[in-house]
Symmetry: C2
Subunit: 340 residues, 2 copies
DNA sequence: CTGAAAGCGCTTACAG
DNA sequence: CTGAAAGCGCTTACAG
């Protein structure tokens, strides 16, 4: 049968000290004499004692757990971010309680509630939207939230994104400089700030050059929807000579559809540009030109913001926008003498 | 300032009942009169009360947290499994505390210790190895562990894998039937049961047909190592006409290296077969012939085993092996008139 | 059904 | 430095 877990009281008994003494030995920053430390450590080692994190959390009010809500795990950008987040947080003594979410506001609200039930010290909401009602409730409960790769207009919530508007504009400029004249956009979900902002910047860039997108279709962050959009686009009387796709994940689907289903050459017939620069974008089969989201910097900023607010509840929410370069590869025609 | 969280005592005061009554209303299966339920629910709603899961965990001894240790998140098989695991567990009222791990036994042992500090009710170790010492300690502490996509010889630990030996053999038979005569293997890490077993089955299959692998190189589950292995293989005087790669993740790298770096045609010059059938294997750029690991069935079995042991501590550890079909696509030459 | 009380395993003032 | 005691927010026998 399962032997019961060993407690600080048992260690105390064995070491011949009080239970508080044991606690002190395991509490960083608490004071205990060298002799006590020695006796307690010895007894703890013999018994295999380890402090119960949950009990500690109850009294200290700090669980050392960060809640993570994430959708779109099929887009490799998120598993990559998750891994970085987990490693960085662990270094700070925090761990991640993960909730995968369908991306509806209701579902996310629910899930954030559950996260709060676990007394998480803070919440990272990656690629999901939530109601400002809930955001308010979290603030009241004193639980900081930071949005990762998503903003929430006018919510006063902390958020970390890349410079999406600027990124979209760069793509437009690159495509125009490359001599494309019939440029289309299969966007990220327009209900997301990310998808929306990239489109805004892209269209602004086009306009600045006297062009307008020949078409814009919402790809909903779905490979299938994006593929279908590509088919529709190529059906037109004058099909596009370039397509900017709202993220790499969809861009791969678009490239495959173009090349293998429609027999369209990329980039000879159509240039394709994505967004994110996930590792796969560098794989030879795709070699995708794309705007890099500096995921490591985004993760650093997220953690800095979140822990900052955990440690200082009066700290104001902060929005961070990290610019990323356009990475030129072979999926899009390069302007003459282009230097990035 | 952060308003303090509301407790059951405050709800009790407002509802005019005892604190125990409040607890009962929120404890499934506890009894309370309709009137009490009504008063308590009303008060709770007004105050925005939700039970503190950690406090509940302390007294009940059940945290409703499952620890997940996972490595190789860059192999999409794992994010996919994570998502399924998370969703299925949530349905059962459990949540996942996730630890990403480098794959060394020491690191994993450490991390499992930390997991236990959080009083997790059970542990899923995906794609990682741990010492049997630690396994014993977990058993003593009464915390069930199940290995996911990894076995541990003679450890008496629960494990869920696909039928790797059989899968490896199927690949050999398919390749032989396809008329290949110089067959090589870039294996998964030979230190992992998964990599080892697939190689065993593969070689056995080859031997049964009177063949021997012309070469076998450990790909270490790394794209770079696998690519390098492919280069070495093709340098030989008589290069292979088929390569079985230990998982899809490496197989993609091998295909790219073959096609774009070495100018080798797949499957005309060399057939390539992978293992896992991650979604990407079906993407047109790769269209990879591979052995499917039925990830959903593996997840179901994992949860069934884990929750079974949580609910009945006397239940014996159990090893589950789930067979998966060979999925034939265009990366490997098909035998004449092949019917799967 | 319901309330008072004990207790889960800790941390942290409070005295000494 | 150290021990006795209170308390974190709950659940659960125990009486009534």
């Amino acid at each position: 049968m399962a032997q019961t877990k060993v407690t600080s009281a048992e260690v105390a008994a064995r070491a011949g000290v009080s239970q508080s003494a044991v606690s002190r030995v395991f509490t960083p920053g608490a004071s205990a004499s060298a002799k006590t430390v020695e006796k307690v450590k010895a007894a703890a080692a013999e018994l295999g004692y380890r402090p119960n994190v949950l009990a500690r959390a109850m009294v200290s009010g700090k669980s050392r757990i960060i809640g993570l809500a994430v959708a779109y795990l099929d887009n490799y950008f998120y598993p990559a971010a998750l891994e970085l987040l987990s490693n960085a947080l662990k270094k700070q003594g925090y761990h991640i309680l993960i909730f995968t979410a369908p991306n509806s506001v209701d579902a996310v609200d629910n899930l954030v509630q559950e996260l709060m039930d676990y007394q998480v010290d803070g919440i990272i909401a990656a690629s999901v939207s939530m109601s400002s009602t809930l955001a308010d409730r979290a603030r009241l409960a004193g639980i900081p939230i930071v949005l990762f790769n998503r903003g929430l207009e006018g919510s006063g919530m902390s958020a970390v994104t890349s410079a999406n508007i600027e990124g979209g504009r760069k793509v437009a400029e690159f495509l125009v400089a490359g001599g494309h004249s019939r440029i289309a956009h299969i966007s990220g979900w327009s209900g997301s700030s990310t998808g929306h902002d990239r489109a805004i910047g892209f269209n602004a860039g086009l306009n600045a050059a006297g062009q307008t997108a020949v078409a814009q279709i919402d790809g909903m962050y779905s490979r299938d929807v994006a593929s279908e959009a590509a088919r529709d686009l190529m059906k037109a009387q004058t099909p596009p000579d370039a397509i900017f796709v709202g993220n790499d994940h969809m861009a791969f689907a678009v490239m495959d559809t173009l090349r293998f289903e429609l027999g369209v050459s990329v980039p000879n017939d159509v240039s394709v540009i994505g967004y994110d620069d996930v590792p796969m974008a560098a794989w030879a089969s795709y070699d995708l030109t794309t705007v890099r989201q500096p995921v490591n910097k985004m993760v650093d900023a997220t953690i800095e913001t979140l822990l900052g607010q955990i440690n200082d509840p009066n700290r104001m929410p902060q929005k961070t926008e990290i610019p990323g370069p356009l990475i030129t590869r072979s999926s899009a025609r390069c302007p003459q003498g282009w230097t990035p």
